[in-house]
């Protein structure tokens, strides 16, 4: 093979791999990406049942009902509404009423959200960022009003 042919082979192989990767990425972008919605967004965007998305908001006080086999039902709310969520499985350690959570799953035809995973914050200073943004926009959450320390 001549020098030129070798160079062309290299470029060809590189082009092929990149094209395959690009195709995969574009296809996956359509298929696997999950949007984040607050209960208000769900109403506003009229999200169809069966579409996977992440639902984020605060766990409504007094709404958590635990059943057998680690079944849990609760409501996720924001300033404008709340959506009932059914979930089976381990809840994160910091799942509590009044706390910010994100549930991933889809709406059923009854309007109940069936979640297959629930995320809460990792530590007590952390509110899932999307939830914090939504709530801040709606004026429900002012952030941690930590007593400021006197520093030098």
């Amino acid at each position: 093979m001549t020098r030129k042919q070798r160079r062309l082979t290299l470029i060809g192989v590189a082009g092929c791999i990149l094209a395959i990767a690009l195709g995969l990425v574009l296809y996956a972008m359509n298929d696997t990406i999950v949007f984040f919605n607050s209960p208000a967004d769900v109403q506003a965007k009229n999200v169809q049942p069966g579409t996977r998305f992440r639902l984020g908001g605060l766990v409504k006080e007094g709404s958590v009902q635990r059943g057998d086999n680690q079944q849990v039902a609760f409501e996720i709310m924001d300033g404008q509404g709340s959506i009932r969520v059914n979930y089976t499985g381990m809840l994160p350690d910091l799942f509590r009423e009044g706390q910010g959570v994100i549930a991933e799953g889809a709406l059923e035809h009854s309007g109940v959200f069936r979640a297959d995973s629930v995320l809460a914050k990792h530590d007590e200073n952390y509110m899932p960022r999307e939830v914090a943004d939504t709530l801040r926009r709606q004026g429900l959450w002012q952030g941690d009003s930590k007593a400021s320390q006197q520093t030098q």
Binding site: L140, A147, Q149
Partner: protein, 365 residues
């Protein structure tokens, strides 16, 4: 003083680290050029491998030829020519000056800007403090905390630690501690008032409706509780009911001995309320300072927004906006009130009536 000597010594050592190589005579001799050295070693290694039979002779020849080509390319690229003469000396002097000036100046400027040199003069307080000292307050607190963790039903303990939390600024913990104390020791006017106060402090001085309820309960148990009455008056003030607030403060003053520790504070509050904008009677709302009204209204709005409130409060907010001529905001408040009170039929009726009264027809859902 010792510390300054130490800092000085550190600076001097750092400057020396720069000056030392500058003062040395650079020894080139005996130092092989790593560029060519690399290939020479390679050739030697190939030779050794061939002798041991790891490499076949023809392989070794090819490898040696390749390494030799590279060696040839690398020679004549000698890295360093020993620089002598005037320009080199000048460069050296410049570098020394740089080290002598930049290093101390920069270090002291940076340290001066971000450090705490004034703490150096003080005796090292921390030396005495450590987890081992039993009299230490920190240890005491952590002891009480772990005691309470084991015996959470010990209401006395909670009551002891709560004011400590308040003093340390850990308001959230204080609220929780008072809560626990109340649960285990039962309600008592004083305890309730302290609990309410912690809640107020935790909210940076805002008397929430929850806290207001606590104070009301305290007053019910003991009508003279000064703390509870004080905060109730303040709640009225924050809700914009200035007259009620004034009455509250005045009654508190009247009912307490002249040398009570809170007298001064209450008088101050009262004086503030009766300040320059003092108006004759209650129907004088339009004559009040516009700023005051705006402040009150926005205070009420943000409180309702954050914590919700009764139908009457929402109605008051609507009326306030209407009086201020901000009809769009009034309509907005009506809408929000309807959302907030969706479960409360009587409340909705109140809101509807107010909306009709204010002719906010556009606010109908």
């Amino acid at each position: 003083m010792v510390i300054w000597i130490i800092l000085l010594a550190m600076t001097a050592a750092a400057v020396m680290a720069v000056l030392w190589p500058l003062s040395r005579h650079y020894a080139v001799s005996g130092q092989a050029d790593p560029n060519t050295q690399f290939y020479r070693e390679q050739i030697d290694e190939i030779e050794r491998d061939r002798e041991r039979g790891v490499l076949l002779p023809n392989e070794a020849e090819a490898a040696k030829a390749e390494a030799g080509r590279r060696l040839l390319r690398a020679t004549g690229m000698e890295d360093v020519a020993v620089a002598v003469g005037e320009p080199a000396l000048r460069r050296r002097r410049a570098a020394s000056t740089l080290a002598l000036s930049v290093l101390p100046i920069l270090a002291i400027a940076i340290y001066g800007a971000y450090g705490s040199p004034h703490l150096l003069g003080q005796p090292p307080v921390m030396a005495a403090r450590g987890p081992a000292t039993p009299s230490d307050l920190a240890t005491a607190i952590s002891q009480i905390e772990s005691h309470l963790a084991q015996n959470p039903q010990d209401g006395r303990g909670w009551e002891v630690i709560a004011p400590v939390y308040v003093r340390m600024g850990r308001m959230g913990d204080a609220v929780k501690a008072y809560e626990a104390a109340l649960r285990h020791l039962g309600p008592d006017a004083n305890r309730l008032a302290n609990y309410g106060e912690a809640m107020v402090l935790a909210k940076d001085g805002l008397v929430s409706s929850e806290a207001q309820g606590i104070f009301e309960q305290a007053v019910k148990l003991d009508g003279t509780s000064p703390k509870a009455r004080f905060y109730l008056a303040r709640a009225a003030e924050q809700d914009g009911q200035i007259d009620k607030a004034k009455a509250g403060y005045a009654a508190l003053l009247a009912g307490s001995p002249a040398d009570a520790p809170w007298t001064a504070v209450v008088e101050e509050q009262l004086a503030r309320l009766e300040g320059p904008q003092t108006v004759s009677r209650q129907d004088a709302e339009p004559q009040m300072g516009a700023d005051d009204i705006l402040r009150m209204v926005s205070g009420l709005a943000s409180r309702l927004e954050a914590q919700g409130g009764s139908a009457d409060e929402w109605a008051r907010l609507m009326r306030s906006y209407a009086v201020l001529g901000q009809r769009d905001k009034a309509a907005d408040a009506a809408q929000r009130a309807r959302q907030a009170l969706a479960q409360d039929d009587a409340g909705l009726k109140t809101i509807d009536m107010m909306a009709r009264e204010l002719k906010l027809t556009d606010a109908q859902p």
